[in-house]
Point group: C2
């Protein structure tokens, strides 16, 4: 598919699809006329990228993480240098931290909303 369709299907501005490519996160083919030609799996991939960006990860890190999501993954094993392994371990830790923080705050918001609801209900009677 071309950039317009990928943009539609992922809700992502064309500008950013080109930016993600520049950062090495997606690698579209090129048609004879120079147009980018995206394989179907890029829809999921772009959604993943956006999700991770939204969760605070920079493109530099996302680039390291993406190969973990590709299946079959066996292809990448030889590339797995010790440094890369260490980086992934570290990032997994940081993601755990983020998850803990978000969960805590999400629950606190939930408790607050419940309390407000109960308060309003009591007021109304």
């Amino acid at each position: 598919m071309r950039i317009g369709e990928l943009s539609e299907r992922t809700g992502t501005p064309r500008r950013l699809l080109r930016y993600y490519e520049e950062q090495g996160l997606i690698l579209p083919e090129r048609a004879a006329n120079g147009y980018r030609d995206y394989a179907g799996y890029n829809v999921d991939r772009v959604v993943q990228i956006r999700g991770l960006l939204d969760a605070g990860l920079p493109t530099r890190i996302i680039k390291q993480i993406l190969p973990c999501l590709d299946k079959p993954r066996a292809i990448y094993f030889p590339d797995a240098t010790p440094e890369m392994i260490a980086t992934l371990r570290g990032e997994r830790e940081r993601m755990d931290d983020r998850i803990r923080c978000l969960t805590r705050n999400r629950d606190a918001i939930g408790d607050y909303l419940d309390a407000v609801l109960a308060y309003d209900h009591a007021e109304a009677t």
Copy 2:
């Protein structure tokens, strides 16, 4: 405590403590000489702020969330406008999305690391 101590105890540059204040996230008192004077609870608060920023939330949203974490919370109920409630509900949704995304990717990294470990182990024998 003064800004230097808070900076030390939270691992946060002074510059950013002033920035968070400017954004309305913390409200230190002022000593007679003009120095900022932070109450002890600000240590936790700043850690919270940094965690949420790291998880991709902008200060504008964090400002809305912070009151949910204060106890006792009853004080804030009258301030809870319908718009605020709606905002909090929406943000809770977005935080859920982030948690799902991070969890999925963290698990994928874990699987990948396990697979690499198994692969290396097999190689070594």
